[in-house]
């Protein structure tokens, strides 16, 4: 390859991974061999095969060929879409995924497994197919699958392109040249379709058809590859030449070399391109063209606003007497600019938004596999897959969601017998739903399984000391205990509660994304987990406040309320730990200036300003000197050029260019509790 293919390889890999996901989804949805679904699956496999061939991933292309053949037979009704066939195809998808990963990262897919699945596919295709060479067995238009290992000594190709073949940039001549390299090629041109009159002749149409005879050891695969890109634009029949043996030794001398080369070369190519492909993987994403177009429109508006402002400034210079009117125009212009900027910002942020389907899509397979293993009947419903979410949030969402869905299937839904006994339908329902609500993305995982017994959770929590003997909790509070490390990691409880281990980890991960997770459950009826996530990690609504000379930002979502202290509500513990009594709760008052090492602790003034904030179910009252405005702030991390600073969740740049630190309420609560001033 003379041009640098690496960039195309990236795109191919990305598309192939998407294709595989699609295949997987459709395979799972394949009900009794619906032809449309089969077509979709077939097309995915076909694109992967084509691309893999083009980019020299011979092993992938070869393996996909078998898959494609099987799919083709299924869509032609020659093969049933039996569950075992679907399972085999799912395994094939796994193999392909492994192979593509290997191609990207420069490793090797597990050869034994590849061979095993391939053999299974070939067995499915029937005994006629010779092992390890599925090519001649291709059951579609390409010809009868009667190839033997000796193979035909040549091929006859009937190639009848549709009229617009050449409009798509394909050139038969070039294809023949490639064929000619594979052996001795004889070309007969058929002119029967040529129009009679010159008027009817469109010079851009292809009226010709050809019958080609290729003598030599070329395999059916090699020939198909030549016609790869025109398959849908022509009638093509490839059949072996009967009894036309050419002197095998002589003419085949260069051929075996070429044939042997085919698998070898692609593998080295795969390794070579792996490194560069991997490097780009994490930093690229596909963006909907509509979003880019919208962005271009907005930039257009911005340019118009800018020229309008320039115009105003020129007019002001030329004719200062019109000052008043121009200032009015200037105001309008600036308002316009502000609107443009805000829209542009929203759109640019929107580019990072991807449909949550990218995470959801893995679940049909997961549920299919687990329920199969467990002997449960489960129907998974996905809703709101096109809800958009920040790419980074989504990337970190996968693991917690897998955990929760697995739990629902594993522990939530009962076996069919148990369900029948409980008077429920044998097939359990698991629903995964995403939607937007008030600047948040909500993801719900619902099941109609056995639910959780709050009394037993509470008993367990009291056993482990998580809940004091006299502590009273309402039902909702008890259920949230499953997210506590002490409780959910105990194996016994997973049976008791109907939930598996690691809920604390799930909660931690979701907290890490600035979100929250809650559980509702009713014994016998099922459970519902609600995950609330911020739309994006890089912008948030903040409250600006002043402590001493400094401006800080506190996430608006963390604020419970702001208040002026009532002297009678300020209490002291141990003579120096001030607490504020807010309704029935005592909340520690935190002297931020002292906590941040800025000033000596100072006594609380008579009427102090407090911001009551909550994080990790803990409330603190921050002593502040002034409350400034609220605004959206862009979150910047301190770690880029420094490190994480305890008590802060990053920084932002204010309108005047100054840096303001964003307060991390949970971190501050920890610091105040343990005087933990060290790095977290």
């Amino acid at each position: 390859m003379s041009i640098d293919m690496a960039q195309f390889v990236d795109a191919f890999l990305e598309e192939s991974f998407e294709g595989l996901e699609r295949m997987e989804t459709e395979l799972l949805a394949l009900d009794g061999g619906d032809p449309e679904t089969l077509n979709t699956i077939f097309r995915c496999a076909h694109s992967i095969k084509g691309g893999a061939g083009t980019f020299g991933f011979g092993a992938i292309s070869e393996f996909t060929h078998g898959v494609e053949t099987l799919l083709d037979r299924m869509r032609n009704g020659e093969q049933d879409a039996a569950p075992e066939t679907v399972n085999l195809l799912l395994r094939a998808v796994d193999i392909l995924r492994a192979q593509l990963h290997a191609a990207r990262d420069g490793g090797e897919a597990d050869a034994a497994e590849v061979a095993e699945v391939r053999t299974l596919i070939e067995a499915h295709l029937g005994d006629a197919a010779p092992p390890r060479d599925p090519a001649p067995s291709d059951g579609s238009e390409e010809g009868p699958g009667d190839g033997n290992d000796d193979g035909p000594r040549g091929w006859r190709i009937h190639f009848r392109p549709y009229a617009d073949l050449m409009r798509t940039g394909n050139d038969p001549l070039r294809m023949f040249e490639v064929l000619a390299e594979l052996g001795r090629l004889t070309v007969h041109c058929e002119t029967d379709r040529l129009p009679d009159s010159a008027e009817a002749f469109d010079p851009e149409d292809c009226y010709l058809a050809w019958t080609l005879e290729l003598e030599g050891d070329a395999t059916g695969d090699q020939i198909e590859e030549v016609f790869e890109w025109v398959e849908d634009e022509c009638d093509l029949v490839i059949e072996p030449l009967e009894a036309a043996p050419v002197a095998p030794d002589e003419s085949s001398a260069p051929e075996p070399g070429a044939a042997a080369d085919t698998p070898a070369r692609p593998e080295t190519a795969a390794k070579g391109s792996g490194g560069s492909a991997r490097g780009a993987e994490s930093s690229s994403m596909r963006v909907n063209t509509g979003k880019i177009d919208a962005l271009i429109d907005m930039v257009g508006e911005l340019v118009i606003t800018q020229s309008m402002l320039t115009d105003i400034s020129e007019q002001l210079e030329e004719d200062p007497s019109q000052m008043e009117a121009q200032i009015e125009r200037l105001r309008t212009g600036l308002a316009e600019l502000e609107r443009n900027t805000r829209e542009l910002q929203e759109s640019v942020m929107g580019i990072r938004m991807v449909p949550i389907a990218q995470v959801f899509n893995r679940f049909p397979r997961l549920v299919h596999d687990i329920s199969g293993q467990l002997g449960k009947q489960i129907e998974l419903t996905l809703k709101g897959e096109y809800t958009e979410i920040d790419k980074t949030v989504m990337e970190h969402l996968g693991d917690p969601l897998v955990h929760l869905v697995r739990n629902a299937v594993d522990h939530g839904i009962e076996r069919p017998e148990a369900r029948a006994a409980a008077g429920k339908p044998e097939t359990g329902q698991v629903t995964l739903e995403a939607y937007h609500r008030g600047g948040n993305v909500i993801i719900e995982i619902r099941d109609d399984g056995k639910g959780m017994d709050a009394d037993r959770i509470l008993a367990k929590a009291r056993d482990t000391g998580l809940v004091g003997p006299n502590q009273q909790l309402d039902r909702h509070e008890i259920l949230q205990l499953v997210f506590e490390p002490g409780l959910s990691t105990a194996d016994q409880v997973s049976d008791l509660s109907g939930r598996g281990v690691g809920m604390d980890v799930v909660k931690k991960n979701i907290r890490g994304l600035g979100g929250n997770v809650e559980l509702e459950s009713e014994p016998g009826k099922g459970s519902r987990l609600t995950i609330r996530l911020p739309l994006t990690l890089s912008i948030m609504d903040g409250q600006l406040l002043k402590v001493g000379d400094e401006t800080f930002v506190i996430p608006l979502i963390a604020i419970v309320e702001s208040l002026q202290t009532l002297p009678e509500s300020v209490k002291q513990a141990f003579g120096k730990l001030p607490l504020y009594r807010l309704r029935d709760e005592y909340i520690p008052i935190i002297d931020l200036a002292a906590l941040f090492g800025r000033a000596e602790p100072s006594p609380l003034p008579e009427r102090a300003l407090l911001v009551v904030a909550e994080a990790d179910d803990q409330r603190v009252a921050l002593r502040v000197d002034d409350l400034l405005g609220q605004q959206q702030v862009v979150i910047k991390t301190l770690e880029t050029n420094f490190r994480k600073v305890p008590g802060t969740a990053g920084a932002t740049i204010l309108g005047d260019g100054q840096v303001a630190l964003i307060l991390d309420v949970a971190g501050i609560a920890r610091m105040a509790a343990g005087r933990d001033t060290r790095a977290a």
Binding site: G597, R598, N641, F642, V645, G647, A651, I653, L661, T677
Partner: protein, 173 residues
């Protein structure tokens, strides 16, 4: 600011020579690899960070990037100096653990640019002091002046970034 003429004691084109930007701290001259200098800025008041050593003055906004500012006098436990209009911040690219960070160092003034061959660098003597010297790349003598060439990756490395103070004394509580 600095005398912008490149002074060199040797032919600047000679291979094996590095160019150093030097700066002044209390009348002493120090040098850093000029390829690591991103820009030179005037002093502006940074936003202080909580519970960090005194020599970490805080962070500033450099074209949308949050950059920490380190006072070299305080870092070397020299007498602090009032910041004024001539106080200069050198933005340096510090490379550690495959990561590049940008940090600003506050110095009294920027001095010269010198080309110095590796052979002309003497190893640093044992200062027998509580200041670790692993961040001194070597000493050079130019016009009878001694210049300490600093290895900024070590000087502004993980030890400084870590919350624990790299040099003997702890952070102010």
């Amino acid at each position: 600011m600095a005398n912008d003429a490149t002074q060199s004691i040797h032919d600047p084109a000679t291979a094996g020579e590095d160019q150093y930007l030097t700066f002044i701290l209390a009348e002493e001259e120090y040098g850093v690899d000029i390829l690591r200098v991103q820009e030179i800025k005037g002093w502006e008041r940074p936003t202080p960070l909580p519970n960090t050593p005194d020599y970490i003055r805080g962070v500033i906004n450099v074209r949308g990037m949050i950059v920490p500012i380190i006072d070299m006098r305080l870092r070397f436990r020299m007498e602090p100096m009032e910041y004024g209009p001539t106080t200069v911040v050198i933005m340096l690219r510090v490379i550690n653990e495959d990561r590049e960070r940008v940090m600003g160092v506050v110095v009294d003034a920027v001095s010269e640019v010198y080309s110095i061959g590796a052979d002309d660098l003497q190893p640093a003597p044992d200062f027998n002091s509580r200041i670790g010297i692993d961040f001194v790349r070597g000493l050079a003598t130019i016009d009878e002046k001694m210049i300490l060439m600093l290895d900024i990756d070590t000087l502004l490395g993980p030890g400084l970034i870590a919350s624990e103070d790299a040099i003997a004394e702890g952070a102010p509580a």
